[in-house]
């Protein structure tokens, strides 16, 4: 569905991504993980056209996204940033209505069909009872669902989520991820997310892409790539891997390092400092 081809980007001369290529498969959930500052968000910025790649191209169904008409692209792909803003007095329903923008003519009137889709998006995200409340009065989890409802009203085939669970408590994190999972399973929505929680990534993803040091470190199905070596190499933690029989995915718990709680890599960097 989405093909990233030899992408290189950076900020003020500093390389963040160096010649990376990967593919996003249709109807799958793909999660991008990696340590802070590895370039995960930069990848999403490139995909959302917020930052133009220095080299390389991004092909959506074999068309360069920078050459597709903005509104046409908005009907295929929707992107939710980390903590989007909204004026205080906009209701959740107003917000969902804006999801219909790419379908509007210059008069900007909502048709019966638009209202039906807005209602549908509100039902799917279970915010019926909240729809007339101001978005600013909603809890973090409710707000995230309202934003996802807006993205749904765009009727996209591809949904990009930048850390959709950040700032949410565990119950709401779970709620949002279950919703994303349902959108994928029931509506065949292709999803690309950036997640911090690796156990959540392992549980909800069909494919994980690990980014480290400007490169794709590894990619594959969670059970193929989540292992002790990867977590030690990429995230600098020692872990023990278990198998979640119910959800058929790996999970891990960090373990204390025998030599006093810090990993070998970190110890090395300490020694360098002193």
């Amino acid at each position: 569905m989405l093909k990233i081809n030899k992408l290189s980007m950076g900020y003020e001369g500093k390389r963040i991504l160096d010649n990376i290529s990967f593919e996003i498969e249709k109807n799958k959930i793909t999660t991008i993980i990696g340590p802070n500052g590895c370039g995960k968000s930069t990848i999403l910025k490139a995909l959302s056209k917020a930052k133009k790649p220095e080299l390389g191209e991004i092909l959506l169904e074999s068309k360069n996204i920078y050459k597709v008409n903005e509104k046409t692209l908005a009907k295929i792909m929707s992107i939710l940033p980390q903590s989007p803003k909204v004026p205080d007095d906009f209701s959740a329903r107003d917000l969902v209505g804006y999801g219909r923008y790419p379908y509007m003519n210059w008069m900007g009137r909502l048709t019966k069909k638009d209202y039906k889709i807005i209602d549908w998006a509100i039902r799917e995200t279970k915010i019926e009872s909240l729809q007339h409340r101001q978005v600013s009065t909603l809890s973090g989890g409710e707000r995230q669902r309202a934003w996802i409802a807006m993205a749904l009203a765009q009727q996209p085939k591809l949904l990009l989520l930048d850390e959709p669970t950040t700032y949410l408590d565990i119950c709401h994190q779970f709620e949002v991820l279950e919703l994303v999972d349902r959108l994928n399973k029931e509506m065949d929505m292709t999803v690309v997310m950036v997640l911090h929680d690796l156990n959540q990534a392992a549980r909800y993803s069909d494919k994980i892409i690990v980014v480290k040091d400007e490169k794709i470190y590894k990619e594959g199905r969670p059970e193929e790539i989540i292992n002790e070596e990867l977590l030690e190499e990429v995230f600098n933690i020692k872990v023990k891997i278990f198998n979640d029989e119910d959800n058929k995915c790996p999970y891990f718990l960090p373990i204390k390092n025998k030599e006093g709680g810090i990993s070998n890599n970190e110890k090395k960097s300490f020694e360098k400092c002193s």
């Binding site: 959302s48 056209k49 917020a50 903005e70 509104k71 046409t72 692209l73 908005a74 009907k75 792909m77 929707s78 992107i79 939710l80 940033p81 989007p84 803003k85 909204v86 004026p87 205080d88 007095d89 906009f90 329903r93 107003d94 917000l95 804006y98 999801g99 923008y101 790419p102 509007m104 210059w106 900007g108 209202y115 039906k116 209602d119 019926e128 009872s129 729809q131 007339h132 600013s136 807006m150 993205a151 765009q154």
Partner: protein, 343 residues
């Protein structure tokens, strides 16, 4: 909740906002009539109406039709222009403090207008285009000065203030060297409506009308811009182009007002805020509400300005600042935390 129910709730909200706009419209008409009736010679509102619609000559007709009506219409049009300009800038900059004055649009228009008055005093009709070019280029300079990975609101306001005072210095220098070329300098620097007639109104309304129509067409796009660049982009809005068009709009509106009445302050800042508190931040309603409210406020302020210390006439800008400055302080004291948090 069913579709029917939610549609009803929507209609209720819509009709509330339409009612507010109609009330503002009636307020504007009332302000127009009051402003026409009060003056050195008190004329009753019934006589005002008779003078406008029925009489073809006579003392009342002369006073009302030749002096008060055009002046009041200029006041109204200026109110519309400056309020819309301020509303646009507050949205585009996502900053509750943005206004044609603080952002430097007014001073840019003022400089260009001053230069035109000094160099080409006989070409009246060049005034508005020149003021427009001045306003627009100042906006662009400030825009690019504050650009670094996107617009930082604080940087924009600060560079606006710096550029404004710099241009203010140039204007004052010109005014010192050519005092005779620019009549009523004080009126120009604070904004005055004294002796404004039909010729001024005819110069002003085409710009105001074009600006108003454009603003209404752009209102939905501005709403989407309020959701942040990332969301706006995801919804398929051409952000940079939309922003540019809106800034051109705001400059045009401010420039046409400044070229006629001088650098009238505070209207563009406070009117959109008051309107937003009453009607909400949906620009489809906010624009017409601010336009009508702005028109009413300037008409009333001008009435006060020319009658409060009769027979001396104060520039309307002094009355406006007298009301505007305390309100601005109220906003700074935290009033805008409630109303403009997410900008």
């Amino acid at each position: 909740m069913s579709t029917v129910e939610s549609l009803e709730a929507l209609k209720k909200k819509h009709s509330y906002k339409i009612t507010v706009i109609i009330i503002f419209g009636l307020a504007a008409i009332a302000a127009f009539l009051i402003s026409s009736s009060i003056g050195a010679l008190k004329i009753s509102i019934a006589d005002v109406l008779r003078a406008i619609f029925i009489e073809k000559e006579g003392l009342n007709r002369n006073i009302i039709w030749k002096i008060r009506v055009p002046r009041t219409l200029v006041a109204g049009a200026v109110g519309i222009c400056l309020s819309l300009s301020g509303g646009i800038l507050q949205g585009v900059m996502r900053n509750p403090l943005a206004s044609p004055n603080i952002i430097g649009v007014s001073s840019g228009a003022g400089l260009a207008a001053t230069i035109t008055l000094v160099l080409l005093p006989s070409y009246d009709y060049l005034l508005t285009p020149a003021a427009f070019i001045g306003a627009f280029s100042t906006t662009l300079i400030i825009y690019f000065l504050s650009w670094k990975d996107g617009i930082k609101p604080l940087r924009m306001v600060l560079s606006g203030i710096a550029i404004s005072s710099f241009i203010g210095a140039i204007i004052n220098t010109i005014l010192i060297f050519f005092p005779d070329r620019v009549q009523n300098t004080l009126g120009f620097t604070v904004g005055s409506l004294a002796a404004r007639t039909w010729s001024h109104f005819n110069l002003l309304w085409p710009y105001a009308l074009i600006g108003f129509i454009f603003t209404m067409i752009m209102s939905r796009k501005l709403n989407i811009l309020m959701l942040g660049d990332e969301i706006a982009r995801s919804l398929g809005l051409k952000i940079e182009r939309t922003r540019m068009i809106l800034i051109i709009c705001a400059s045009l509106l401010a420039a046409s007002a400044v070229s006629i009445v001088g650098m009238l302050g505070f209207v563009g800042l406070i009117v959109p805020h008051i309107a937003r508190i009453i009607i909400g931040s949906d620009y489809r309603y906010l624009f017409p509400a601010s336009a009508l409210l702005g028109a009413s406020i300037i008409m009333i302020c001008d009435t006060i300005a020319r009658t409060i210390v009769e027979p001396i006439e104060l520039p309307v800008g002094i009355i406006m600042a007298g009301i505007g400055a305390p309100f601005f302080l109220y906003l700074l004291r935290g009033g805008f935390k409630k109303n403009a948090k997410n900008k």
